[in-house]
Each structure stands twice: as C-alpha cells, then as structure tokens.
Symmetry: C2
Subunit: 694 residues, 2 copies
C-alpha cells in the first residue's frame, strides 16, 4: 500500500506554471505540522483566544486514528471511525464485483451485522511517545555507509522489539524527526479487524473528479466510515470525539489532527535541485504515460471502467500533486527564499568555531551525495525501489522472496522489518483474500518492464536478465496468467518455502523476482552506502545546525506520524479574486452539467427536493496539512469534530517545500453536510443516532 496522498485544483496546472502562486512569506502564522509533545500551546492560545492545554491535546491524540496511507478519528463509543471516501474506496472496490458495484452505488448496510471487513486494513491509535534520540545516534557512531545503515537499523529494531515484542495488538515504530535531529518511539494500539460501515456513492464523494481535484470551491461529500472490531465485536471507544453537526463560522479557530505523509521543507538546495531536475520530471513523465495506458484501458468496457476507477484516481491525484510541487521548485523567487535561508544558517555555523567543529559542512557533503545519487538513481528506481511498477502480484512475490531469504538468516543478521514478529504479520496479511484486477496488474507490469528497458537500455545486463528473449508485453502476459499468487492459500504455501523451494516452485512471478533479486539487492546496498546512509548523517548535522541557529521551537518535516496543525476558517484572495471559505449544498446542483465527472449522484438527484441547500458543504481553512492528512478530523476549540479534511487548494501543493500563509488552504467536508446527507439523501437514522444526532 502506498501512502494515499491528499485528493484535492486543476488550476494548478494553469496558474502555477505561470510562475505565480507559491511564495513563502516570512509570516509564521498558522504554519506547522506539530508533534503532540511540542505543540506551541501558548502561542496558539494567545493568537486565537483558545484554552488548549495538555489534557485537551491528550483527548485529541486518543481519538486520532492512523489507517493505511490516511488519517481518521473515532466518532462514537462503539468504534465508529470517520475518514474520507477516497481512503476507503479501495475497500469498497474490494467488496464489489461486476454484479455489485458499491463504488458506484455506495455501501450502506441496513444493520451493523452487515458491515464487512476491509482486507488488509488496520487502524492504529497512538498511546505513547518516547524519545530515543541518544540510543539511535549512538548506534551509528563512527560508522559509514552500509555499516552505518545496518547498525542504525538493528538498533531501531531492538528498541521496537523491547517495547512491543511480538504482540499483534501493538505497533512500535521508531520515527525520525527533523531529518535525523531527533528520534522517537511511537507506540500504537493496533486493530486488524476494520470493517466498512458506510460509503456514499463515488459520484457524490468525488463530484467534479480530476478537474476539480485540488480545487476550491468544491462540492464533494468525501467521507466514509469504518468500525474497529475485536473478537468479532465492535470495540468500545469512550475516548471518541463528539460529533458537532453545525458548521463553523468564518474566522473560527480549527485544528487538524492527522498523519501528514511527507514534506521536504528541511531539504538543502542541492537536494531540492536534484528533486527538480531528475526525480520529479521522471516521475511526472512515467506517471503520465501509465495514466494514458490505464485511461485508454478503462474505455474498453464497463468492467474495465469499474476496476480502473481507483487506480486512475490515485495516479491522477499523485500526478497533480507532484506537478504542483514542481512548479514551486521551478519558481526562481521561491528557490531564492530557500537559498537565502540556507546561506544564513550556513553562514552562522561558519562564523562560530564551536559550531563548525561540531557540525562541519553537511551542505557540501549533501552536494557530493547528490552527484552520486544522480548516477545511481535510475537503476535503483527501476530495478529495486519501484520494481514491479505498482503490480500487486509482483509486490507479493517480492515480499515472499525477501521474507524467505531473511528468514534463512539468524535473527540478529536480518534486515530491519524481518523480525519473527514482522514475518508473522506478513503471513497474516498475505493470506487474506481480496480481489486482484489482473488486467491492471498486467498493464503495470508491461509498463514497468518496458520503461526499465527504455531507461536502462536494451544492452544493460540486468535488463537482459530480466527480460530474457521475451518482449515486455509477452513476459507480462505470461507472468500474470501463470502465477498462483492471486490465490491466498497459495501465497501462504509460498511464504513458507525456503529460497530453494521457491526456485523450484514453478511460479513465473516468483521466478522473475528471484532472477532480478541479486541485482536489485546490490542496487539497494549501493544506494544505502552511497546515498541514504551518508544523507542520514549529513541531514542530522543540518538539523543540529538549525536547532543551534533557529532554536528548538521548530516543527519537523512530515513523516506520516501524528501531528496537529492549527488555523482558522478562512477563504483567500488571489490576483484580486476573493474565494469564499464556504460552499453550500445548493451549489452542487448548480455545477452539475449532466456529463462526467459533473453528473449528480443518483441519491442526490432523487432527493433534491428534501436537501437543505443552505447547508454548508465544504469549507477552507488555513491549516498546514499535506498528503496523508486525508480523513483527518477537523476540530473546533471545544474539541468537537466539525469536518474531515480531504484536500488542499492549488496553492497548498507547494506546501511540500514551504507554507504560504496568504494562500495555502486546507479543504474539508463539514459534519453539517455529512449529517444532512445521512438524514435527507441516504436516510441513515441508525448512524445519525450513533453520532448523537437525531
């Protein structure tokens, strides 16, 4: 599962490319994805007249839920979870088939007993944060390259094992903050039986589709509901947020609790330049071609259209986000702000002999690392990091092969992520049943093989080993038709095999992965020794320099760990045009053209007369969030949930590199709209009662 990024304005393509838009301002107002143990309580209370305290923060933390690639929150005492529709649509798809299309028609069980488990979905609630910086730093002391990476990995594994052991109800994760400036152990209570409680029609949740994504005004009912179960029963969750069915007012302070996936605000100029000149262009180009293949495939027939909906959404969403980020990196003014900041910190270190002695010149180290990374990147990406091109079958084969090889080693020599507990987790997940769209898998494999040959050349020995004498098309077809990996039982059998047994298994996908694996592991080792290891060392020094020069009142880059952002409900003004903070349900009917993706969902069309069109639908606020925050509860000063964040405006896309207080906005669906839809569109008195709304 890849991190689900935010779904959210086409106009990024038009506006940002014009070199306008993203401009980091000196104002720090509302900026930051703060950890719960370093939240600027006093500053926020002063700014907004709120009375946040540690107990308030604890209550929010206890109700915040991390799910695959997304954020969520408990909203009833019986395990009910609020998140986005686009965070549960994969599950809706898994529960659908050609005859029962719940993506199209919505998932609306008449009784709680009909709620069904989402394959592979987990829900995690953060229970404890422990600083482990000293232990982690000590583990790598005096080591370089691959040895450094190995020692750090082993220590991380040991810390996690000490606290969580092999308890399947716990997750322990050592997380890096400030790009290595601090490390903390995050301990979670984990739930593995997560069921789908409610999903509206796709066309209601994602009205406006890709054209409206990252746009505002917006008319999307992008919410879905899950429920956590244990021992076959809903979990009792007294620590839930109170549902407030009333929309906020402009200027109201609002908080967003969730798991922003990744930001790059602390990267140095040389790192940003390599992103801009190598990584992002390649990503945009490859995503675009794959998007073209999937889109054309989706035109084949109704079933193709059905299975391709979510994969295409994911690609388009990721493309638009990356495109928007790239416009920030291409903006000379934006980069100059970054350059100036770096020069200031670097200058301060150079001016202070003690600092120089302690920190050295990590910026120069990172420049040298970028040159090495540029050389290593393409083969590492194609044959290891992105091998398989998104194919689920390939990914499972790779997990099985790697697990088998690591299991054969003594526990203390294994790579991080392959403890006995990890392997048991993997076996549980791998044997769950879920549908695999093999046509799409074949498209992804064909595309990956074809691009690997294109970028690494036909004369590359690793490519020749991968393809043999077959074409990418023929090889992918043979792999998909011949593999047994679509069968959960067969996955379980393969997962139990030794590498030698795997080699003799006759499964062509396993055989392909085995064929590629020595080259892929060598590329990974080279990357760790030449790039990720040295980068971790240098970035740690940059973080120390920032603390020394800027003080400790900083927030770290996002790492898909729980954060809190503060702000207020507010629209924005761009080039003289005011964008109001609210949309209303009546606006949906005005925007519907009758052609996709601007067709009304059936229930909205049928119940138009009943809908209160004055209801606030979606709203924008100044909170600083990013992909991974999808589904985050939007919380008022009283700690009640008033919405679910699902998007950013176009100007938020540069947020990967810097926050612009004037323009960066979070977009959320209001609890007011959800309540109205449950009452007058979808007729769900049972859920309304559970939410405390009659």
């Amino acid at each position: 599962m890849s991190l689900r990024t935010l779904s959210a304005a086409t106009s990024v393509l038009a506006l940002a490319i014009a070199g306008i838009g993203i401009q980091p301002t000196p104002a720090r107002a509302d900026e930051g994805m703060w950890t719960f143990n370093n939240f600027p309580i006093a500053a926020v209370n002063a700014r907004y007249g709120t009375s946040i305290d540690q107990a308030w923060l604890d209550r929010i933390q206890n109700a915040a839920v991390r799910i695959s690639g997304c954020s969520a929150s408990l909203v009833s005492g019986e395990g009910l979870i609020l998140t986005n529709h686009h965070c549960v649509v994969g599950c809706v798809q898994d529960l659908s088939d050609a005859q029962n299309d719940y993506v199209k028609n919505g998932w609306m069980p008449a009784t709680r007993e009909e709620e069904k488990q989402c394959p592979g979905q987990t829900a995690e609630i953060l229970t404890q944060i422990t600083d482990v910086t000293d232990r982690v730093l000590a583990a790598g002391a005096g080591l370089e390259g691959a040895a450094f990476v190995q020692a750090r990995g082993a220590e991380t594994q040991a810390i996690q094992q000490e606290v969580c052991g092999d308890d399947v109800k716990l997750t322990c994760q050592v997380i890096s903050f400030y790009r290595g400036g601090q490390y903390a152990l995050y301990k979670f209570r984990k739930y593995e039986d997560v069921r789908l409680a409610f999903a509206p029609e796709f066309q209601a949740a994602f009205f406006g589709g890709d054209p409206d994504n990252f746009n505002f005004p917006r008319y999307a009912l992008d919410f879905g509901m899950l429920r956590i179960y244990e021992d076959g029963k809903p979990v009792e969750t007294p620590n839930h947020l109170t549902w407030n069915p009333n929309a906020p007012k402009e200027g109201d302070p609002v908080f967003v609790a969730g798991n922003p996936g990744s930001t790059s605000r602390l990267l140095t100029i040389s790192q940003l330049e390599r992103l801009r000149d190598q990584v992002q262009p390649l990503t945009l180009i490859q995503q675009s071609e794959l998007r073209g293949r999937m889109t054309q495939y989706s035109f084949t027939d109704e079933e193709a259209a059905r299975v391709a909906v979510d994969p295409i959404f994911g690609l388009e969403n990721s493309f638009k986000a990356t495109y928007g980020q790239q416009q920030a990196l291409l903006d000379p003014d934006f980069m100059q702000v970054k350059r100036d900041e770096e020069a200031r910190i670097r200058g301060a270190v150079e001016a202070d002999p003690d600092l120089t002695a302690r920190i050295g010149d990590p910026w120069a180290d990172l420049e040298a690392i970028q040159a090495r990374a540029t050389e290593l990147y393409l083969p590492y990406r194609q044959l290891e990091a992105s091998a398989g091109g998104g194919s689920t079958l390939y990914s499972m084969a790779k997990q099985i092969v790697r697990a088998s090889k690591e299991r054969a080693k003594p526990a203390n020599e294994r790579r991080a992520g392959y403890s006995d507990g990890d392997l048991a987790n993997l076996a549980r997940r791998a044997t769950q049943a879920f549908p695999i769209a093999t046509d799409l898998d074949q498209i992804q494999l064909t595309f990956w093989l074809s691009k690997t040959r294109e970028y690494l050349t036909v004369d590359n020995a690793d490519v020749q080993r991968l393809l043999g004498r077959e074409s990418p098309e023929a090889l992918a077809a043979r792999l998909v038709s011949g593999t047994g990996l679509a069968d959960p039982a067969r996955r379980g059998e393969l997962l139990a095999m030794t590498p030698e047994q795997l080699a003799a298994s006759g499964d062509p996908m396993i055989e392909l992965v085995l064929r590629n694996d020595d080259a892929a592991q060598a590329l990974r080792a080279g990357w760790e020794a030449g790039v990720s290891g040295p980068t971790a060392r240098a970035a740690e020094k940059v973080a120390q320099a920032r603390f020394a020069v800027l003080g400790s009142n900083q927030y770290p880059d996002a790492t898909f760990s729980l954060r809190l952002s503060y702000g207020q409900v507010q629209g924005w003004t761009y080039r003289g045009t005011q964008v109001p903070a609210f949309t209303y349900m009546g606006g949906l009917y005005d925007r519907a053209t009758g052609s996709q993706p601007f067709v009304l969902a059936q229930a909205f069309a049928d119940n138009e007369a009943k809908v209160n069109k004055e209801t606030v639908y979606d709203f924008s606020s100044t909170n600083d969030i990013i992909g991974g925050n999808s589904g985050s509860p939007v919380i008022n000063a009283a700690g009640e949930v008033i919405g679910a964040a699902f998007d950013g405006n176009i100007h938020s896309l540069g947020g990967a590199f810097g926050y612009d207080a004037e323009l960066n906005r979070t977009v959320s669906v209001s609890t007011a709209a959800i309540t109205e839809a449950l009452r007058n569109v979808y007729d769900q008195p049972r859920l309304l009662a559970e939410l405390g709304v009659e």
Copy 2:
C-alpha cells in the same frame, strides 16, 4: 503534416539524465548547417584535402529534394528519389488496408507502372536563392506588435507572389536566417505527383524499434524510394547523384545535404530557460500520456496495431528527441557555456557606444517577453497552436474555416498564407483521397479536449464554450462519427462555402472549430503582439550583435531549408568505451531475439544464406544534422551518394542547442547495404539497373 524529426538511442534516457554527455566544446571542427551560398569552402578543403568548389555545390543543390518534413535526393535520370523508410511510411500506410499491409510486407511493385501516388506528398528542388533582407526589414520599420507582424507578413507574401505568382509548379518561400539577421527568397521547382517506388519491410527498416532509436550500433535498413512524375510520366532528371555502392572508410570526408528542421543555438538564456521550465516539460508530459493512450489502443487488435504503428513511432521519436534536448538544458555546465557566450557578446555591445546605439539591449527585451510568453502560453497552445491535438479531421476543419474567413476579405487584407494561389493549393490538396484512422483521430481529440480542460480549468469561459455540457469523451465521439470530413468530395464542398454557409452546414467538426475560432484567433493575435512580433524584433538585434562581435562567418539556426554539413566517417569514445563507426549486416542476425522489436524481417530471415554478412550496414559520421535531415543524401568528396542519413546518436540530441565535436554523430544507412538488400534480400534487378548497379 508536422516536421518529421530524425528517427534515431534509448540510452539518452539513462545517460543524459545523469548530467553527462552534452558538453559544447570550443572546437568548431565539423560544426555547422551551412547555407549553399555561404559554405566555408576554403576551410573544408584545407581540413579534408577535398576540392569542393561552387560548381560542386551547385550539382549537389540540384539533386537535393525537399519532401514533407524530410530530405531526399535524386538518384537516377528517371526521377528516382532516395529517402528514409520513416519518411515514406505514412504513404505506405495510406496505400495499405486491413487486407494489404505494405508496412509489414514492404512495397515492391513488379513494374514501374505499379508505382502509386503518395497522397499529399510533394517534392521540391531549390533553384534560386535571393537575398531580400532589406525589403523585409524595411517593411516592419517603426511598427510594433501586431502591426509589425502584419506588415512583415504582407511584404513576405508580396515578394513570394512577385516571383512565383500562382504557378503550381513553383514554390516561393521567404526564409528567415540567423533569427532575423537575414532574409532570403528560396525558389523551388515543385512536383505534386510523387509515387512510391520501393519500401522494405517495416521490421527491416526499423529493426530495434524505439529501444534502438537514437542508438548506435544500429541495424536498420531505413531507406525508401519515391519517383517524381509530371503529366503521368516520370520526370527526366539528369541532375541526379551517382549511386556508389561501396561503403566509405573510416576517416573519409562526407557531406550531408538536407533540410535540418529547427535548432535553437542562437536563443538567448532567457529563451532557453523558458523552454526548459515551461515548454519542454509540458510537451514531455502531454506526449507521454498520449503515448500511453495510443500504445494501449494498439494492443486492442491487429487492425489497431496496424494503423497505430506510424503515429506511435512519431510520438516516441519526438518524445525521445525532446527528452534528450531537455537533458542538455538541465546540465548546469552546458548552460554556463551558453551564459558565458551571451555575456561576452552583450559585454562587447555595452563597451561600444556605436553598437549600443544601434542595437540597444535586446537581451533585456527578450527577458521581458519571456514573462509575457509564460502567461500567454498555455491558452495559446491549447486553443490555437496545438488545437485539435493532432487530429487530422480537426486540422482539416480548421483549414476550411480559416480559408473561408480569409477568402471573404480583400486580397491585401488577408493573413499570410491565404493568397488566391495558396487557396487553390489548399483546395487541390484537400480533395485528394487518403485513409483516415478515425479511432486514432478520436483518441487525439479526446485527449486534447481533456487536457485543455485540465490545464485551462473547467471554469475557463473558452473551455466552457468548447465543451458545452458534454464530456471530452462524448464530444469527441460525436464529432468523429458525425463529421463528413473523411470524404474528399465533401471537403471540396465545404471548402467552397462562406462562413455563413459553414455555420449552417450541420457538420459538427466545422461547428466546433467555428465555436472556438474567435477565442483562438484572439489568442493568436495576443501571442503575435506580445511574443512573436517583439521576439522577431529583438532576435534581429541579437543577430546583428553576433555579426558585429563574431563576424559574418557564422551559420544560421536550422529553418527546414537546404543546408550542407561536412564531416568524416568516425565512431566515438564515451567514458572509455570506443564505439566503432560501422555495423555489418551479420550483426543484424546476432541482435535478433525473436521478440519485438528485435524480430528479423521475413525476407531477411528467408534469405539469410544469400546475404553477405560482411557488408557495411549503418555507419556514423561527425556531420552536424538534426530532425528534418532524415533521408538526406550522404555524399563523398566526388559528389556520389554513399548513404542516407536517418538518425543521430544519443549525444546528438543536445545538438538542438550546441554541437559537441567529440560525441555528436550522424547515423546513416549505407548504399552498400541498400544495394546488397535489393540484390540478395528483395531481388530487385530493375531498381539495381536503374541505379547503375548490375
């Protein structure tokens, strides 16, 4: 018809992205795409011991042929023309249908009488060059923006009309050199009946496909033959090149005569930066997605694969060339060389009061123009410059609508390109019959409409007018199924209509173009007033500065006009690896894997025993060429043809911006290989006799 660019090394994707490769060297050896009236005769003779004189140049000029997007040469006294297979494959496709696939099987008429006309193909031979710089410059004097563009256009039109009138056997074209430093009238003898004389199997011509394109060593028989006819008979062409069936030796001097399409070596830094940051990324992204759509479509069935072959080749070829160019622009060292050169010329102008008075600061003007261009580019591109997305049906509808509107004006008020003669030409071309792959047309239209909405946004008034309430998919389907434009007779009827009659014609494609036309023409006018007009003025000043500082012994940027490049047969050395100058026919058999695109052509497989595997197949030379040179004769010092240029190596792609003598290589198929193939693979004694080879 778009300019057919060179077909030619995957490794560009791998190597150039690593920031290596393109490095302009100070050496001027073998650099330049020289005009026939300013060829450095003395320098070349001194360097290579040749005895080139004006008479030698005249003979080459008289045998050089310009065809649609490509280059070619006369190689017999009976109108026989040598060019590349990839320059005639469109015609081969036009002559094919689902039952007779000449692309796959080759076009090999048993008799001359069976040679068939290539729809729309013309052949032009340059007969006269006249300097018209003073007249053109005088026409724009004192004018700005749109008025300047209009006055220049009118004068250009007048010059052409004076010399060629409406004679259908002549083409007159005023061509800009040195980006406005000089203007010349090029007068051509034109032939409109061009027939297909021979084409090998696609799999022989394009063995290795996209993976090997822009690569070397190479094993491609990329040649095809046309013949010019007049009054139903082959044209007598005593002025042809002599066919030399022997391969050259390493170090032999060689000349390439042809029509390089476009280079950007004289662009200023601000122009290059806008290319790098706006135009090229967008082009790469859009090409990639369309490539994905077309590729997936081509997997549908055999007929889809058949009709998509050439369009996909064109896209892939253009993508790879643009990608390679972009790597040059992303190379900081490369850009620094450009910056230094600009600073030197700019500094010399500033240091000289007379020059400053005459030239001013066109570099600053161009910087300001880029800011304006950045703003205007997206709508101009989507709604005017690239409107229709390559759809043939849309393009014809646009020609018809524009012709109708211009015809309604007095002759002296019409835009350039709409004289009575031009309109008569258009009518002749438009009523020729040729097959249109409507599925592909619909893919191109759908994609264009969809991207136009994506980039300009759904809320853009022009987009709303274009789409109405339809989706891009539904609109494109309705346009393609409803238009009468696939019928040549109907095209003739529509072409005779007034704008009012067109509006009432009921043709949905015409209706769409009319709906978009006011916006499109306004965008064009805005672009001319804000960008192309001011750029022409400023570029002219930059050219004058270059002449003043560097002297007149310069070659101009390529403009798809006849040029001559000199060089020698030579391989190259890259990172310690020597690439030899020659491949041999035996190498083809070694490289064949049996999987596409590395399958042997049937005739090559069948006749393997007869083929002399020691025959030189393809060879590389130091000539400075670029897209548009495809099909150019490669000529030895004696003026004999010894090959047809069809490609460049990967390092040649940066050639759009600068020539690297160490690495930039032209790739040609030898007459030795063509002769061997005609003799022992395709058994064509008739053609061999005509070429003087028994």
